[in-house]
Amino acid sequence: MNQELSHPDLYRSDGGDSVVLLGMSCAACGHVAFPRQHYGCEKCGAAGDALRNVDLHSTGSLASYATVHMHQAKTIAAPFVIGEISLDAGPTVRATMVEATDADMEIGARVAGRLFPAPSSVDATSSKFELRFCLLEGRS
């Protein structure tokens, strides 16, 4: 499956259903972070070869959630649900959830990233895919 991604610099398919986030780790202090950057470690200041690219699997647990009822940008249609995800790999990320409401959400629930056709390109012939997180069956 050859999916064109909205943000190929931030994530990619793991080859199956799921997604890996393109993160980094610092060989000097062990700090693991997302997104990837090579300016210098935010914790210890190490730069250059100390900063290693690592793939962070997108599974984790839901640390919080919020339904956004309005958004100033006209290109972003509300409502939508944002999740805060503690990745099993360490970093915390915030991302849009697939679920249209937070009715079934519970802090601690297992979640993972998936690729979905971007809303803006649903009708286009070559649709781009973007990252959404979703609740996994069988809660923690």
């Binding site: 943000h7 610099d9 931030l10 994530y11 986030l21 700090h31 997104p35 950057q37 300016y39 935010e42 914790k43 640390a63 919080s64 959630y65 919020a66 339904t67 956004v68 009822h69 309005m70 958004h71 100033q72 940008a73 972003i76 939508f80 944002i82 805060e84 915390t92 990320v93 915030r94 991302a95 849009t96 802090i107 990252l131």
Partner: protein
Amino acid sequence: MNKPLSSFRPAYVVGIGLHPYQRMTETPYPVLGLAAVREALGDARITWGAVESVYHGTALLGMASTRAMLKHLGGTGIPMQQVENASASGSTAFRLAAFEVATGVCDVALAVGVDKPSARPLAGSQTGIRGIEGGRIVPFTHFALLAQRYMDRHGATPEDFARVAVKNHGNGAHNRYAQRQQVRSLLDVLNDPPISGPLTRLQCCPVGEGAAAVIVASEAAIARLRIDHRRCVRVLSSAQRTEVVYEESSNFDAELTRQTTAQAIAEAGITPADLDVIELHDAFSVEEIFYLEAMGVAREGEAPAMLRDGAFDIGGDVAISPSGGLLAMGHPIGPTGIGQIAEIARQLRGEAGVRQHKNARMGLAHMVGVGAVCVVHVLGMS
């Protein structure tokens, strides 16, 4: 080696002035700023010629805003500079003015904050490092996420957060400088249009325009200019810090507030229990709960119950945001931190009228800003 403000000679707030915070109008910014500065000069009963240095807290006006405004007081040739530090721009300008007086570089310094809303993007969006959110997570959603976690952890309810807005709108209703001057009931706040998570519109601060000015002076200047010493409020401490990588990474503003406030309180030689009035960064209602606990004014998880019992009302244990706070007085950015100092000085002088917290002797001003940055001052009346 870092030296605290208290290791230098005393610095005092001797004059305060404001232009009301309001929705954006066509009024040019010098009109706002000059009104606040002239009021502060009048309050101190000194003339413009006595001012020796200017720090202008402004985040949105653009390059070279200060002399274009203050030249209309008559050119005296004194140093003037803009200070930009996000929401803490005004607080940082005040800190620089206080240090300049305390260290003896000058005897009389003006800290002024003026801003008008602008759509210019933050530099943080131009670092070349992108996130996955794509602009979908704005500040109110950041705080909505933290609010949901707090409710889950401590059994708090949306009503607990809404009560912050009820209190602060009630205070702002008696403040002629406030952008929002209307009493709101708990139902008014809860039934207001939802914005994000438990936050409704009345739990999010308005960002408009306005100005605030504070004059800082040494004892020598107070004597020389015959300023009424009984109306002078001493700046006891000044602390400023920036975010680091925290164990508790999501609520970084609270961690930063914890460290910065602890430093300011220690340098002033007091404990949180000594504080009578606090003006804090309540851009969103939930922040007041987080920061009161981070400051040690309330134990973790206990701020909502104390709020419900009236501990944070004017006349309670410690008056929190008697001006109305960012929620009701408003948050025009550059002026905000200086407006907090003006409110605390007014309270400690006993000149706050119907908003007066009885026997107020010790006050604390707190701002956080995008970055994250944090500035905390302790002021006291001897």
